[in-house]
Assembly symmetry: C2
Homo-oligomer: 302 residues x 2
């Protein structure tokens, strides 16, 4: 376990989150004109209290390999747009039909289904607009940026997040085995988390070996993150989750704790974090944020 006295992890999280929030505020102007409503809906969800985990992982990925965290901010912001779009669409009545998210009414509850759908579409598109906007990307080499965009797009589409969500909704109410649950986690959550770290490393100028190590790290914490979420759904309190506890069970979603029991799920989770931290052995103190992040991800309940 990393030593809190050496590295101020809470301060790190706060600083980076504020950095991302400032950048996002700068990118999203106040809604105006005929299509103001959709911009309003986009910013409502974007500023609904997200932890900015993916942007922070991208920044940490860049800094771990010796790159600049500030330079990757447009990509970090884009990752948050993609994450937020996926939440808006997942919450729609035709998908998970959730009324609450982070303790606030979901997009379609506030803006109606049509506008929520379009706000999601708008955020997904905006992600790629931001990552290619001339005034934002001056500090980033074009070839590296194209690679980073590809990693993120690939992880977001049918090979990643969209593919995971498809299987997730198709399995609802049916019995899934561990292989299927694994597939869903890896694609729905793990892919974008991994892409966040690896795209940061690519933009930061990391070597192939750096990228491989951080990809391994990302896969492990992505999986740990999802299992932790499922455990929280069972035992977490409503305040931390911002949504009703036990909703997975009510929906008969297959999860690690449901399949393996709480204790075994927690053991798996801890093993994943250990593996993730081990993969960082090649990095010096520059990887300290990622070491702490791995532990943080499964300790959110504390």
């Amino acid at each position: 376990m990393p030593d809190e006295s050496v590295f101020d992890f809470k301060g790190y999280l706060k600083t980076k989150r504020e950095m991302v929030d400032r950048a996002l505020r700068g990118i999203f102007p106040a809604p105006e004109g005929l299509s103001a409503d959709v911009v309003d809906a986009m910013t409502y969800s974007l500023f609904a209290g997200g932890k900015r985990l993916r942007p922070i992982l991208c920044i940490a990925g860049a800094e771990t390999v010796g790159g600049s965290g500030a330079a990757v901010l447009p990509v970090a912001c884009a990752l948050e747009c993609i994450h937020t779009y996926s939440l808006i669409h997942d919450d729609l009545p035709v998908m998970d039909d959730d009324d609450l998210r982070r303790g606030k009414p979901t997009s379609h509850k506030v803006y109606g289904e049509a506008l929520a759908l379009l706000a999601g579409d708008g955020l997904l598109t905006e992600a790629f607009d931001i990552m290619t906007r001339p005034e934002l990307i001056r500090g980033l080499p074009a070839e590296r940026l194209l690679r980073a965009i590809h990693i993120i797009a690939h992880a977001s589409g049918f090979n990643g997040m969209v593919g995971g969500q498809v299987v997730d909704i198709q399995m609802e109410g049916r019995t899934a085995d561990l292989t299927t649950v694994d597939f869903i986690h890896r694609h729905k959550t793990g892919a974008l988390i991994t892409a966040a770290i690896v795209s940061g490393a690519v933009l930061g100028g990391g070597s192939e070996e750096d990228e491989a190590a951080l990809e391994f790290y990302g896969l492990k914490i992505g999986m740990a993150f999802q299992i932790s979420d499922d455990i929280l759904d069972i035992e977490g309190d409503r305040e931390i989750m911002g949504k009703p506890v036990g909703s997975d069970e009510a929906r008969q979603k297959m999860t690690y704790p449901a399949l393996l029991g709480l204790e075994e799920a927690r053991r798996v989770e801890e093993g994943l974090v250990d593996d993730a931290v081990e993969a960082l052995a090649r990095f010096d103190s520059s990887a300290e944020p990622l070491r702490h992040l791995a532990a943080y991800i499964i300790q959110r309940k504390k």
Copy 2:
């Protein structure tokens, strides 16, 4: 009016359409694995008989400024993915609620609403995956490609297509003036059509003046295209449209012909095509396809 005897426009359209279709088939593999259903839904709509107008405009844009049409194929294919995603989402019950598109059942009629929504998300994301896929973009300079992606993303999001769709659904059943109808056309249809041509010109290495001329051309034919669509909706036959005639009127959508009458709408349409062709004066025979395309766009009913 361009002389058909000099330039085989029909042959041109056919060749380019086949070129795009081959490229799209190569990009979309047969669905396999757990998320096969969403790939199936994506390809269903992608190969439902589209005219490939946006890809052809991109190729023509590149060739007009002396660039290679084959080199821009990944971007051309991406434009068709974005166009197709927008149709799938527009057809959803929560939006226009259309059962037929190009004479075939719409995506949600075949796959259900959840999968249709995800197929749209998948296609939009895939567009950016394709435009940055290393094996597809070898022939394109990275800086130009980033500019082209930005033009396309910007035209697809809340500043373009998504913004137009928002106003379109909000105005349904309400009285819109010409300014609002103009806004909807310009954003919902015009933006991506213009982006298709301009991105082609950027990738083909056109000068700033070339880009400006082609942007003007794009704005004019984009508008003409939408007015032509609205006229077809009133007087076209169901076979050409692939959807019920008179659906705009039934839905009380405000359109040019509804606001100005058929005859005046046709005059506006022809004026737009004349303006578009005039903007091509700086180009030699390389712009012949675009000259024919301008006329073709408003003559689809013949």
